[in-house]
Amino acid sequence: MIAFFVKRFFQAVVVMFVISLISFSIQDNLGDPLRELVGQAVSEEERQALRDEMGLNDPFLVQYVRFASKALQGDLGDSYFFKQPAFDVIMKKLPATLELVFGATVIIVLFSVPIGVYSAINPQSWFSKTVMGLSIIGISVPVFLTAIGLIYLFAIELNWLPSYGRGETTQVWGVWETGLFSADGLKHLILPSFTLASIMLPLFIRLIRSEMMEVLQSEYVKFAWAKGISPRRIYFLHALKNTMLPVITVGGVQIGTMVAYTILTETVFQWPGMGFLFLEAVNRVDTPLIVAYLIIVGAIFVVTNTFVDLIYGLVNPTVKLAGRK
């Protein structure tokens, strides 16, 4: 168990090292941070002096080593725009994004499993055929279009749900600013969550359906029928547990991907999360913030994948990790 986590920790370090190197090497191509920082009135000499002072004229390697040695101590640099540590700026926005991803994940799990299982058991029913057709549309419609469509229908025409922002938030444990515990916050969460889920949901329904159909043809499911086990137990224990193995693997990667997809969703819904922040940072050429964002997202990826591997190990007895004998 400990060996597993140590291994994962080093993996995370390697991943973040590579990400920091990549994001650091592209920063010169993003634009001139000075222009955003000081405006038009400052002369070229002053700009150069400022550049020297900020170390922007140093060779790449020198800059990177300076950044890396600070980063190892937990300092990812200060945001040019916010004049605060980039790490703190992002952490302040992280809860909003995680709540959005959480909302979307809940929607995906709640809908994809029953729909996928039903359409695997009854592939010929009109419901399954409709779902299959709709899922193709769901996969191919871009996120921002889904978002605008949902806003038009539920916020403007029906006026049921708010169209932007997080609404009322409450403080939990002093650090976690959350919208999950107020009716208003939850209401604000619905449309963005569905939008974010809209790309992944059809994918998961199709994945669960096709995996389940394959499992239902297997010898061990046939044997379960021959044993006289109830259909409910066959579908939801014998078949579903095997179906979930590949779904968990894909799901873990997709949850990580969703963190990245939040950029679009957050922008459309003016959701004050880190995706929205990242887009603003790109516009302002706020390089420390961009680099910090990419590194933190990389870390989130590694952490979710570690969790997924742990869960996978619990479901699949042939995988030995996490201290199972």
Binding site: Y220, F223, A226, K227, I229, S230, V315, P317, T318
Partner: protein, 330 residues
């Protein structure tokens, strides 16, 4: 009344290219405690027969005609819940490949206990006790630890023992074993076969053994069916058929056994291959491969003729019998 009475069973697979009949006009009976062997080439319909008895055919296969009467109830038309109460309880099945038969993500214990609980009101503790007893019956080494293990932790022979133990859990009246030893190591095959034979004898369980191994059939079964292209072509006491097969196809099978060959010479074989089910020839389905083919074989389906204690579907046998009768009369 026989324990199991299959009459005029027909199984149809509705494919896009049209319906294919995998079984035609199959009739036989099984008495309590009797051991019946079913032999034939691959694709003759042996496995389909096994699955159709419990109405376990997967789509698009289905029973299109005939009946399977178990203690008077027709399993082909029984309601799903009633059918479920018979499956695994009164009639159980042993599958071909033990590597595929057990669910890889559930422990042996779970897979045994659930079967008991599906058919009896019983506590987990009592069910575990019965499962242990059955594991001991199939001579499983250290049965207690097996209950906690997953299938992948066991060898093929051990898994098949577990499948047999599951088959015996509820003391069924009939076990249908579909090539239970084909996927096993040769050294294990005899062991597993002996075990099954002993357990069936001890518990007075009727056995339907589906196999293409004539040696096994001759050792295990009292009666046998020979199948060809979805039909029974010969049935009767195993000894009589093995010693004096009447149907040219059965004779061919016997002659093809390596034991019958003369050392240094090629093994005998039946010319040609079994026709695909979509293109079964008119008349006797064996006629294109038959050495003794008559004109009538190409047009008319042979009916069963009684020959000794056997029933044979062959025009030639029918004619020979006719001649014998005439000779006697003269």
């Amino acid at each position: 009344m026989p324990l199991l009475e299959v009459s005029n069973l027909e199984v149809c697979f509705g494919l896009r290219s049209g319906a294919v009949k995998a079984l035609r006009d199959v009739s036989f009976t099984l008495e309590r405690g009797e051991r019946l062997g079913v032999v034939g080439e691959s694709g003759a319909g042996k496995s389909v027969l096994g699955f159709s008895i419990l109405n376990l055919l997967s789509r698009p296969g289905h029973i299109s005609a005939g009946s399977v009467r178990f203690e008077g109830k027709d399993l082909a038309t029984l309601a799903p819940e009633e059918l479920r109460s018979i499956r695994g309880n009164r009639i159980s099945m042993i599958f071909q490949d033990p590597m595929m038969t057990l669910n890889p993500v559930l422990t042996i214990g779970v897979q045994m206990v659930e079967c008991l609980k599906a058919h009896r009101k019983i506590s987990t503790k009592d069910a575990t006790y019965i499962a242990l007893q059955k594991l001991k019956q199939v001579q499983m080494p250290s049965p207690e630890t097996r209950l906690e293990q997953y299938p992948h932790e066991l060898s093929g022979g051990m898994r098949q023992r577990i499948v047999i133990a599951i088959g015996l859990l509820l003391d069924p009246d009939i076990i249908i074993a579909d090539e239970p030893t084909t996927a096993l190591d040769v050294t294990i095959q005899a062991e597993i076969m002996d075990l099954m034979l002993n357990l069936c004898e001890q518990n007075n369980v009727a056995l339907i053994l589906i196999t293409h191994d004539l040696g096994v059939v001759s050792q295990v079964s009292q009666r046998m069916l020979v199948m060809y292209a979805g039909r029974i072509i010969e049935q009767g006491p195993t000894k009589e058929i093995i010693n004096d097969a009447q149907h040219p196809y059965t004779q061919g099978l016997m002659n093809a056994l390596p034991q019958m060959a003369i050392p240094g010479q090629k093994l005998n074989q039946i010319k040609g291959t079994m026709p695909p089910l979509q293109r079964i020839p008119k008349g006797c389905s064996f006629n294109p491969r038959c050495e003794y083919v008559l004109e009538v074989c190409k047009h008319n389906l042979p009916a069963f003729t009684q020959s000794g204690n056997c029933q044979v579907a062959c025009h030639l046998v029918a004619e020979l019998n006719q001649e014998k009768l005439l000779v006697k009369e003269v």
